[in-house]
Amino acid sequence: MVNALTDAPSETNEKRVTQSGEIVFEGVSKSFTAESVPAVDGISFRVAAGDLVVLLGPSGCGKTTLLKMVNRLYEPSQGKIWLGGQEIHTLPINDLRRQIGYVIQQVGLFPHMTIGKNISVVPRLLGWDEDRTRERVEMLLELIGLPASYLSRYPRQLSGGEQQRVGLARALAADPEILLMDEPFAAVDAMNRERLQGELLELHCKLNTTILFVTHDVEEAFRLADKIIVMRAGKLVQYGTPIEIVTQPANEFIEELVDTKNILRRLSLVNVHSVLKAKENLSAETFPSKPVEKDTPVLHPEDDLRSVLSLLLSSGSDPLEVVNSSGEILGNVGFTDLRNMLYSSQTTEMNKCNELLD
């Protein structure tokens, strides 16, 4: 299934205007004429292809404005935006948009179209033939975990969570390199939200699409992100991995935002996936996979470190294996890793003290 997802048949006449999912912002500002303060103020950053980057900040900080400049729903007042090495204003606007998946909080499914028609909007715009479109739609429906009988239903017959899944499937329909998500789970109830977040992470691993995800929910940001861009009043405050943000907050605003003084809170924001990623970067050490004992609990990539701590304490084993949804062992996480994570923050705190003493 993974292959079917990523191998978009290339024999069709559709134009791929971008080559990869890399996103680069270069000094981008946006002022709306009515306001004197720019909504987005001189922002530069680079998102590597395949990363899930969360734009985090309080409402009105410009994160949605930033997102909407990527698919040109807003035009920047200044600066350049590059997708896959091409400045977006050199590309035909609708070709660009058809290659960027777009999911919004209100879902925006077309109420007069069946689920099948909704999902196949972009393939039809691109002129895919019927067989290919139908195949793709059925595959996406399976991917988001809805039965094929839903194809002929109308959006109003679905629950909020199901509608947002369809919204996601619709955004993925033409196999985009880039997915823009604007607070997609904000209107979904807490239980469904957590499920949707888990599903999104799984999807992201399967598809390797670059995702820009806007949220004001700190937990959600830390749960999902490979990297987080923290914004405030139109400016980029910090851009880093969840661990970097928790352990080396750039300023008091971020300390307050993630409540970094509280150790348990700090642990609850970082998940196992991020720790494994950080460990990969530190050493190329491989983990000999020993058979997992029956009674030993295992960790999942999306677990947060606070629950890891409680599992470590209650099970008495250290370290614990990390297992993904298909049962493969991805690595392990133990007390040392937790301590390292907290320790690295202490060093920064010491640095800060040194700075103060200087």
Binding site: N71, L73, I93, N94, D95, L96, R97, R98, Q99, Y102, I104, Q106, V107, G108, L109, F110, P111, H112, T114, V121, V122, L125, Y154, R156, G167, R170, A171, L180
Partner: protein, 213 residues
């Protein structure tokens, strides 16, 4: 009861005249409705896209509606003469406002987020209009047509005053002769036609997928 029996008697005696009047009535009504749709639908869509001109256009057509239909008939008389054409013109003007306003309101009423999703996915402006906005405005537009059709069918009785024919002929004749049964031969079928038109458009709308929202 006697009135109805007398009216039925009159109907039986004047069947050919009755059916011809009904045919005239329907032709007049449908033509007026058809012409006003041809003009009001595009204008309604256009003003929905050009907010600034919307109020002006709507007010102009509403002003026409304030003028009584009968007055329009007689105002048209010097220019269009007697008979079918001036009647058609008056009824067309009458059908305009509901169609125009409902088309405008229907398109303006489409959820902004649906439009944003559509254009964010790479639909051109005309694709958004044709595939999203107009289909979603259909319930409002059909409601406008329903209102217009009922108004036109009932007002078409007035055409008789200027020789436009139709079922109004029985009413004017009955009135002139102080004969209520003859008036009923015109009035009852007109009421039935108006009601069935209302029913037809309502049922049609029920079958439309976006109507349940």
């Amino acid at each position: 009861m006697n009135l109805l029996q007398d009216a039925y008697q009159y109907f039986l005696q004047n069947q050919s005249f009755f059916w011809q009047a009904t045919r005239e009535h329907l032709i007049l009504s449908f033509s007026a409705l058809g012409i006003s749709l041809l003009i009001a639908l595009p204008i309604g869509i256009w003003i929905a896209k050009h907010e600034k001109s919307a109020q002006v256009v709507i007010n102009v057509f509403n002003a026409f509606r304030v003028i009584p239909s009968l007055a329009i008939l007689f105002l048209a008389l010097p220019y269009l003469g007697l008979g079918f054409v001036p009647s058609l013109a008056a009824l067309t003007v009458l059908a305009f406002p509901p169609v125009l306003i409902n088309t405008y309101a229907g398109i303006r009423g489409v959820d902004a987020f649906v439009i944003e999703a559509a254009s964010g996915m790479g639909m051109t402006e005309s694709q958004v209009l044709a595939q999203i906005e107009i289909p979603l405005a259909i319930p409002a537009i059909v409601t406008g047509i329903r209102i217009a059709s009922v108004e036109v069918i009932s007002s078409a009785t007035l055409a008789s005053f200027i020789g436009g024919g139709g079922l109004g002929d029985f009413i004017t004749r009955g009135f002139a002769l102080f004969n209520v049964p003859i008036m009923l031969v015109g009035a009852v079928p007109v009421a039935l036609l108006a009601l069935s038109s209302e029913l037809f458009w309502s049922l049609l709308l029920k079958r439309y997928p976006a109507a349940g929202n």
